[in-house]
């Protein structure tokens, strides 16, 4: 359970990230379908968000002054479910209902099923526009919370993303932060082969955004980049998180074939052994 007002150490956050990865592997194996690589790659960012960056109350998910976290690339939602369970939005046992009939944890996120999700997503490219709307509403209402959006790199091939990037830049939405999961893979292969996105940072800068590029597995860098983004109030901010798809599971890392499939029972066993050993290393590293 996330305790408001408590400052979580980097070690504590790293351990949460590792637990989130274990949950992802277990959930996907149990579900028998779903996406592995993206969620594992974003576990560090979600741990940092839910245990340091976001202002939120797991026991009061509709709290009016909460920071908004919009997930645009809905297929990566297992990492969000796992982070929410770690933070105490619901029990960890419920994670095993992922994608099953009657679950609140649909294959793609549905805000009306699970409190704490800001919207529903799945078809790519729709989240950033909604985050813009939430950021504008906050300004209209004199609220000081921040709206964060998580987008994937591949979904930047959707036209609507660029409509929203143009709009947010023009309207100078200083309370909006777009976190891009830059893992360089999509279903058909490497992004730069399927449809190149580079120079991505320059594109955002040209549209009037504050842009930083960081290692998406460096917790301090993620926290610092979000703090810097909050300090930039005259422009929207874009944080490009360079991540390793499948991070933490050796045979999944960097392999685009793990974008859209779950591990088998044996594969999950191997993955969980690796992650548990990583957990021990984290405790030694921060000791």
């Amino acid at each position: 359970m996330y305790q408001e007002g408590h400052t979580y150490s980097l070690e504590a956050i790293a351990l949460r990230a590792n637990s989130i990865r274990e949950h992802i592997v277990t959930m996907l194996e149990e579900a028998g379908s779903g996406h592995s690589a993206g969620p594992l790659g974003m576990a560090d960012a979600y741990a940092a968000l839910y245990f340091r960056i976001l202002s939120h109350k797991p026991t009061h998910p509709t709290w009016e002054d909460r920071d908004r976290l919009v997930l645009s690339c809905g297929h990566t939602v297992p990492v969000r479910y796992a982070a929410m369970a770690e933070a105490g939005y619901f029990s960890r046992n419920e994670l095993l209902t992922l994608r099953k009939l009657g679950t609140r944890l649909h294959g793609h996120p549905h805000n009306r099923a699970l409190p704490g999700l800001e919207t529903s997503s799945g078809p790519l490219g729709q989240g950033l526009s909604q985050a813009c709307g939430m950021a504008i509403a906050a300004t209209m209402d004199g609220k000081s919370h921040t709206t964060y959006c998580i987008t994937s790199d591949g979904e930047h091939q959707e036209g609507q993303i660029w409509e929203a990037v143009l709009f947010a830049g023009a309207k100078k939405l200083g309370n909006l932060v777009n976190l891009i999961d830059r893992n360089y893979i999509q279903i058909d292969g490497p992004t730069e082969q399927v449809m190149p996105l580079e120079p991505l940072a320059e594109k955002y800068r040209a549209f009037g955004w504050h842009v930083v590029e960081i290692d998406g597995h460096n917790l301090q860098a993620i926290i610092d980049a979000c703090n810097d983004a909050k300090a930039v109030v005259d422009r929207p901010s874009c944080i490009i998180l360079h991540t390793i798809p499948g991070k933490g599971v050796s045979y999944m890392e960097y392999d685009f074939r793990w974008h859209g499939k779950p591990p088998t029972h044996e594969e999950a066993d191997t993955a969980l052994k690796q992650l548990r050993s990583m957990g021990e290393r984290i405790m030694t590293e921060y000791d």
Binding site: P123, G133, A138
Partner: protein, 321 residues
């Protein structure tokens, strides 16, 4: 309801734009409800948003020609407690942003009011690309979305009040041309209710939008030969099954008229109801599964039989069965 209680407009009353009634209604609700915000995609004057934009500049958002983003931004505003109106031509909104309407708005249950202007064949000279003849079909299939086609200026004004009072997404469509007045300020209106505007016994003519006036004209012209009941269906979804079935139980014959493709629109909705509950002969007056073309509004309406004469021909046909 008796004819007197309906307070219908006299025949030959001044022509007025349905879009002007929408613009007037918008100003009225804006004064009453600070949650109302308006989003425009470069068509502010054309859709009669300029009054709102001038009076409430802090609640007006110009997005440029970007209907998909407009739908998404509106969903975000709605999920933050606002009541956003998104307005463009119906061919773009919901034509261009249907996926956003489906997921960001309907599935997320975002309280967005979607305004499709310049709907129907009567947009005329601009040609087929700008003649929305499919919008009722593509909105009617979306769960949780209400679909409304106001009859005239006054009803459009009342519709704006009603949809703000309704918590949930709504699609409202209307044409560009000025139309005859059927209702007045005193005519009752309720979202989700069809209205029998003229009682009859032999054929039920069901219409929405500007075609309601034509249906009344057709009924008047045919009154010596056929007793026609005219039902105005402004709320296409949810369909007022009770009122329609009551009428059709009496008449046993139906004509549906709308400025839309004959497939998937009001005619489709009525046939879905009747085929399951009360199978009777039906004739559909509308655009017969084809694209429109350039021409004057009156020429196009005539070409596709969307006139009192066209309705009379359909009534004669169904009455002989």
């Amino acid at each position: 309801m008796t004819k007197a209680a309906l307070h219908l407009a006299p025949v030959g009353a001044e022509l007025k734009g349905i879009r002007d009634g929408f613009g007037q209604g918008l100003l009225e609700v804006a004064a009453l409800d600070p949650r109302v915000v308006v989003l425009s995609a470069d068509l502010t004057e054309s859709i009669r948003l300029e009054g709102f934009a001038k009076t409430y500049p802090d609640r007006f958002i110009e997005l440029g020609v970007a209907e998909q983003n407009m739908a998404g931004v509106a969903a975000g505003l709605a999920l933050s407690g606002k009541v956003p109106f998104i307005a463009s031509y119906a061919v773009f909104n919901p034509g261009r942003n249907w996926d956003q309407l489906r997921v960001s708005i309907c599935y997320s249950q975002a309280n967005v009011k979607v305004i499709g202007a310049h709907a129907g064949i009567s947009v005329g000279p601009d040609g087929a690309t700008h003649q929305a003849l499919e919008d009722i079909a593509i909105t009617r299939v979306l769960p949780d979305l209400l679909v409304v086609a106001p009859t005239d200026y006054e009803e459009a004004r009342k519709v704006v009040h009603a949809i703000v009072a309704h918590e949930g997404p709504v699609y409202v469509r209307f044409g560009r041309e000025k139309t005859h007045q059927v209702t007045t300020e005193k005519t009752p209106f309720a979202l989700g209710k069809a209205q029998v505007l003229r009682a009859g016994k032999a054929v039920t003519v069901i219409a929405c939008g500007a075609q309601v006036y034509d249906a009344l004209q057709a009924a008047e012209k045919l009154k010596k030969n056929h007793s026609i009941e005219v039902v105005s269906v402004s709320t296409i979804k949810p369909l007022d099954a009770e009122t329609l079935l009551k009428s059709v139980r009496k008449t046993g014959r139906v004509v549906v008229v709308e400025e839309h493709q004959v497939t998937g629109g009001l005619g489709g909705a009525v046939c879905e109801l009747l085929s399951q509950k009360l199978p009777v002969p039906v004739r559909l007056v509308g655009v017969p599964d084809t694209f429109g073309e350039s021409g004057a509004a009156s020429e196009l309406l005539e070409k596709f039989h969307l006139t009192p004469q066209g309705i009379m021909a359909a009534v004669e046909e169904v009455a002989c069965l």
